[in-house]
């Protein structure tokens, strides 16, 4: 095929695209092997574990993990069957349902986090090296601004009430 990108651009994109297939697979493999979790389901547990009260409305959780509500609902159903998350209504507002990390879920996160963090460090942080973490952050931020102009992906929860 003809080049719609310059040679340099194409080379960088090819490599980047390869990373986009191989890195998630590698991280998923580690989590699956050691914890029986998907990267995504781990992220859900981790987000809940960091919020005060370990409780959050489904829709807020969905925006924090950048997923559709539908996907989150399916995943939380599975996590609920495992006993790691519990769902309940919200007193202040009849149409939100709250997801809460159970004690067993907390234990699961505590047991899983070190191994996962180590893998992230090994494959990403140490790979790019301390001098280039800032570059990575900047590049990721630049792409995010294009991909997610609405600027969801807030860093810290802002739930109140309930």
């Amino acid at each position: 095929m003809a080049d719609w990108l310059t040679a340099d651009e194409q080379r960088a994109w090819r490599r980047t695209a390869a990373v986009f297939t191989l890195l998630p697979a590698a991280l998923d493999a580690q989590l699956q092997r050691d914890a029986g979790l998907t990267q995504f389901s781990y992220l859900v547990l981790a987000m809940l574990s960091e919020t005060p009260g370990r409780t959050m409305p489904m829709s807020e959780l969905a925006s924090m993990v950048s997923s559709s509500l539908s996907r989150l609902s399916h995943v939380v159903s599975r996590l609920e069957k495992q006993g790691w998350v519990a769902r309940g209504p919200c007193a202040d507002n009849g149409r939100v349902t709250m997801a809460r990390l159970t004690d067993a879920g907390w234990d699961k996160v505590v047991a899983t986090a070190p191994g996962h963090a180590a893998e992230v460090r090994r494959l990403v942080i140490d790979a790019v090296g301390p001098d280039h973490i800032a570059d990575l952050d900047e590049i990721a931020g630049a792409i995010l601004r294009r991909v997610d102009p609405g600027g969801r992906m807030r860093a810290n929860p802002l739930s109140q009430g309930c």
Copy 2:
């Protein structure tokens, strides 16, 4: 949860992880909408389109698109049903099967490539800016070396015979 990464590292990784969920989704959305293709199936067609003779052994194709042979086999089955790829035996070697891009498949790539390349440019290349393409390339390369130590992901095909 406690931090297993420093604050800077964690911030960079969070953003990077967000890109890893949103960018593939955005690219898939464009391809699905405009061409009814997955990013992955497009990549398969594109790789075939660039190889001399538009023909390649399945296993070589698999390594070029960083996938398992199983995944590729399923995808090529679907592409074959659409009439974009044809499979056939290899004269020189009874256990390889060759995948060939049909004329219809070539037309499909030609019709699809510009829109896809434009989206890659818009969301990635232009986002990081010309001054940082080299950084992106370097970072992707560094991560690839960890994730794929075997060093597959060759840039150009090396098929001969058949």
